[in-house]
Amino acid sequence: MDEFLEQLTKAIPTLRRYAYALVRDSSLADDLVQDCLEKGLAHRAQWRGEGNLKTWLYRILSNIHLNQIRADKGNFLKTSDTTSEAVLTAAEAQSPANQIDHLYLQDLEAAIAQLPEEQKQILLLICLEGFSYQEAAKTLELPLGTVMSRLSRARETLRHKTSGTGTDEAAANIRRIK
């Protein structure tokens, strides 16, 4: 079996998650994944089995995403679909002990949508895709310091924009830490 295709296929579900979180529109997200896979396949010779294919695919997808944003700056200002009520309700039901409420999720999602794309990518790679700082830096071909500062800015923006809904949780966590 072709190792390249095997790894590529394995990466599809999480690439779709990443793409969806970036654009929050299912068909745009699948277009992104599709473009990424086509590009990956077309340039498979460049991969040569070196390094992690997953990182490489995330890099391709991130670059396509940034290029698209830059290309249609004008009409991208339309807000993407917000997560449907059904998804939010289902998500809420699954979250442990309802610690994360509906309003917080709505605020969080809206705040993510407004982040600069470069910060959004870093945040999603690290917090959603579970990349280490090193992996994120390698994926986006950035120095570690830049990764850290973008992550920090993204997190603080989100914190301020969701601050109305986060206090109980924060207090609970302080107690836990003690």
Partner: protein
């Protein structure tokens, strides 16, 4: 763990993201216990991470459109295609058409090859037998791809109603069916379902092991089939053994190495 030394607020981020050594972690936790503002920030960041997962994790568990999965033949096809147009439906119908054409073409060629080698070079027109076999593995693979990723509704009838399942599907396929027991190989029955096929009703049984690796056994009526040896087919990471026995065609489909799948197929075959 990590050679990088974090300082100041970076240390707090690194704490949240599990990038610290145990010693560093302890130090941060001590700091947080006496600095409520920082503790609040850290808690808020941790909540963001959980929120992100709640918002978006479902997407990774969703069934990806099968067109996204590039089989080997498709892969070579894609490289020569033009840059993707922006319309989703167009890309996918194009790719779907390519997959369909190539799998039919591919398996036709493959069957042809086997036919010729089995007949020591005597050339005969394969006739209906080839046409029939071409139609048989593909639906088994497709049913496997559609239902095995399902978390909530992988089957119509669960294993706790095994007797009913066997009886129901036997009635529908008009052949007495036994549901093979794969426990000795570590696979337990999840359940089964009725499926449509070009030869009337077909059945799928699903099994999984403790790693939640799933295999499916697909059965459909094959008119005029003879008993055959196992045949092997693979597409992407999915492998299948299929054979004919009596009125039925069987396909065992899974994502595991050929050796393991072949042992499971033996186990199935012995119980039929």
């Amino acid at each position: 763990m990590n050679k990088h030394k974090f300082e100041g607020a970076d240390l707090l981020h690194a704490y949240v993201d599990g990038e610290l050594t145990a010693a560093e972690r302890n130090r941060v936790e001590q700091w947080l216990s006496t600095h409520p503002e920082d503790a609040e920030r850290v808690a808020s960041w941790q909540k963001q991470t959980r929120g992100l997962r709640v918002l978006f994790d479902h997407k990774a568990e969703e069934i990806a459109p099968p067109q996204l999965f590039p089989g080997e033949p498709l892969a070579t096809n894609i490289t020569s295609s033009s840059p993707a147009p922006r319309k989703t439906s167009r890309v996918w119908s194009r790719l779907a058409a390519a997959v369909l054409w190539l799998t039919i073409g591919g398996s036709g060629g493959w069957f042809g090859h086997e036919y010729i080698s089995n007949n020591s070079g005597i050339f005969q027109v394969p006739g209906f037998q080839t046409a029939r076999t071409v139609n048989f593995t593909q639906p088994a693979l497709e049913a496997h791809w559609v239902y095995t990723p399902e978390a909530r509704h992988p089957v119509e009838v669960l294993a706790n109603e095994e007797a009913h399942l066997a009886k129901w599907l036997s009635n529908r396929l008009e052949v007495p069916l036994t549901i093979p027991d794969l426990a000795s190989a570590g696979f337990s029955l999840v359940g089964g379902r009725l499926l449509p096929s070009t030869n009337g009703p077909a059945a799928q049984f699903m099994y999984q092991n403790t790693d939640e690796n799933r295999v499916t056994l697909y059965l459909s009526r094959q008119s005029g089939s003879k008993e055959t040896a196992f045949r092997y087919h693979e597409e992407g990471t999915t492998r299948a053994f299929y054979w004919y026995d009596g009125p039925l065609g069987y396909a065992l489909v899974g994502e595991m190495n050929r050796q393991e799948l072949s042992q499971l197929a033996d186990l199935v075959y012995q119980q039929l």
